[in-house]
Amino acid sequence: MTNDINHKRRSFIKVSAAAGGGMMLGFNFIACKEESKIPDFIAPNLSEPSEWTTLNGFLSIGDNGVVTIMSPNPEIGQNVKTSMPMIVAEELDADWNQVIVEQAGLDTENFERQIAGGSQSIRHGWKNLRKTGATARNLLLQAAAAKLDVTIEELTTSKGIIYHEASDKSLGYGEVASLAADYTAPEEIKLKDPKDFAIIGHDTRNVDGFSIVQGKPLYGLDVNMPGTKIAMIVHPPAFGMKLKSMDDGSIKSMSGITDVVKINVEPEGWNPQWSDVNAYPELVAIVGNSTWEVMKAKKAIKIDWEGETALENSVDHEATMTKLLAEQDGELARKDGDPDKAFADADKVVEKTYTAPFLAHNTMEPMNFYANVTADKAELIGPIQTPMFLEGTLEGVLGIPKENISIMMTRMGGGFGRRLYGHFATEAALISQAVQKPVKLVYTREDDMTQGTYRPAYKVTYKAGLDKDGNLLAFGIKGSGIPGSPVFENRFPAGAVDHYQVQNIQVETNISTGAWRAPRSNFIATAEQSFLDEVAEAAGKDPIDFRLSLFDKAIKEPVGKDNDYDAERYAGVLKLVKEKANWGSETSGVYRGVSAYYCHNSYVAQVLDVEISGDVPKVKRVYCAVDCGIVVNPMAAKNQIEGGIVDGIGHAMYSAMTFKDGAPEQSNFHNYRLIRQAEAPESIEVFFVDNGIDPTGLGEPSLPPIGAALANALYQAVGKRFYQQPFGNENDLLG
């Protein structure tokens, strides 16, 4: 319905000077949409208005009452394209069935923080999105009040209709939308009482769901612009190597090949930003007419590489971290009390070391981007979590001013942090500039998996001192990672132990690393919560009661000042999962593990049940309690929690990225194992704490603790503790 004919037919767009958190004013969504040229399949059953009124950067109202709400943030599967517009629609008091959602392109003037990362979209956007909807509603009410000659206070709204009860009159939003654009909203705008929410808190289906199940083109790889060539890159085979020379004659005559060029995404004198992580700035690019032809040329091309820096090995990484942890004091990050003395005085000391390998992100949609770069203009379309940073990078690399760069985000086939680092978009732009054609850069799975930006490898040693009654006297953590320690020194159990110490050891590497779903937490939670299970056992206490007694201390007499968690909410999820899982009841053949963690401002506690079927332990059930404040869309929130749990179990059990002489030893799903259908839990039950607190992160927090719930349940099942991820295949598990 928002097709080209419709755009031409629309008579005008009014733009108001509406206030609303400084993020809107006069954004023409249709212009943005036309520029994107991505086919859309939204709301096939809504009728087409003859006139749209844009009330602010976020929404337009048709004269028939249809509402278009922009979704400003990149959609990577975390469902913000549904949940963010829900928040706007709530305060607008719109009829959700009359709402169309459109993905916004990068627009730094009208939108804030167009980033998908850190589980922050909803938390950060919450107030402004509500204010945006409430502001537009106020403008509609002002227009209606004038039209009906009544005061605004006499009017109420519900599902896109304005009511004047005294006279029994009503007006649809569409009837007053064009008038509303002439009004100015007050600075202070009243927001709804959460108990009156009619959209937030109600199960709402993914706005793209119907398009997804029909296979409509939604993703970067699906972008199909006229005259576009397919481009692929060839990067060095090992970290520490670089391009020496290439013989393009070997492929230039191959069918369908149009260009072979060298590109460098880090031109001299240019300063990379944090999002420009990239081990391989200099690449060979092959351009041609079709994917298969370019793939064949990519296999045939002859390139010489040369060593530049060290060629690293996973066995050496392991040995280095082991040696450093054993022999060196790390950099002191936090110290409470006198840990040395407390450990010396302890009745019992438990000390264990936990290890995990590098991990690749492996989004199901490999990296790709469309770019059309001309002399003074760059148009980019594709999957990117950080379009605002990409814009800055492109300006520097292409030498084209920001105002002449447009970036449109597609729906993404997964993010997990991988698409924070937009070198592939920069590569597409440079290739297009070099060959003077629009190109779609496509990474093969092998390119994607061996390019880097991995979750770092980690090793951490925990030490606990107990008194003769099993009370925790002292706690020490020494963390190392390649590169960087995974320890958060101010997180639990900091604050719950009198004598506490954290030390960190850094190790350099030339393998590129980056944020991977719940950075650092994705490893440290599994280590910490596995260790606490073992300490509780040494103390002769129930693992939940043991944790609750620590929270009790952190509530009543917290140690230190900077403790980065709310001990009552933390204990709250643990108590909730204890009750829901009926913890303490014994079922023959069922082995249980518990774990709890706090990250991204949300609290999660889990109980996981393992059964041995045949010889093989199988995850049967997971109970998960979550405190993330107000849940915007329970149906999608549960999906995120379930996904994090499956993801966490899979990576703890099966996945690893290893290196030999700098070269990744895994390159595709035949040798990099991801969890599959048969290994997923039979059921996952999710319970949200209902506390009315403003919403916090949801995309990441369920992943970190689950590895420990699994390890602790496996210990009950097979009598063996798991210190090294991946925990292994079925045979090892029973060894």
Binding site: Q78, M364, G414
Partner: protein
């Protein structure tokens, strides 16, 4: 390069490609049927699943020259309007997260149900084990397959 006449979603389509071209790329590049996804190219992920004479097949492993007269159905041809019971069940359970793997999941599930009207948990796990979902929607997929079986 060679000419091929293929039966795709009930229509006859003519293309001119190299004979070793996988159907995945014929569909995506030549016919612009991009619902069929690329995930691995080596028969490991199932994102590229299509039906060949009703059976689930990995299109990344099927050369255009092997197709001949066989009838090919892609996600775009599973139903005209998204009304196939599997598609409807996917909507009911709000299965997709990123959604990228789901066309492949749906094609595998619909081929399973065409053969086995009432699959057990084990049947579902076995049939769907070749389809990776990096977002971890497996429990919903299983529930949706059961709903589809009931409604078919």
């Amino acid at each position: 390069m060679a000419s091929y006449k293929l039966n795709i979603n009930g229509e006859s389509r003519e293309i001119d490609v190299a004979e070793d071209t996988p159907m995945l790329w014929v569909l995506r590049d030549n016919l612009h049927l991009v619902g069929t996804k690329y995930g691995c190219g080596i028969a490991q992920c199932g994102a590229c699943t299509i039906h060949v004479d009703g059976k689930a097949v990995r299109s990344c492993q099927l050369r255009v020259s092997q197709v001949g007269e066989k009838k090919i159905t892609t996600i775009e041809g599973l139903s005209e309007d998204g009304s196939h019971p599997v598609q409807q069940a996917w909507i009911e359970h709000d299965v997709p997260q990123c959604g990228y793997c789901q066309a492949g999941q749906i094609m595998t599930a619909s081929a399973l149900l065409a053969e086995n009207k009432n699959p057990s948990d084990t049947d579902i796990a076995t049939a769907m084990n070749g389809n990776i979902c990096r977002c971890g929607t497996y429990t919903r997929i299983r529930a949706a397959v059961k709903t589809a079986a009931k409604n078919a």
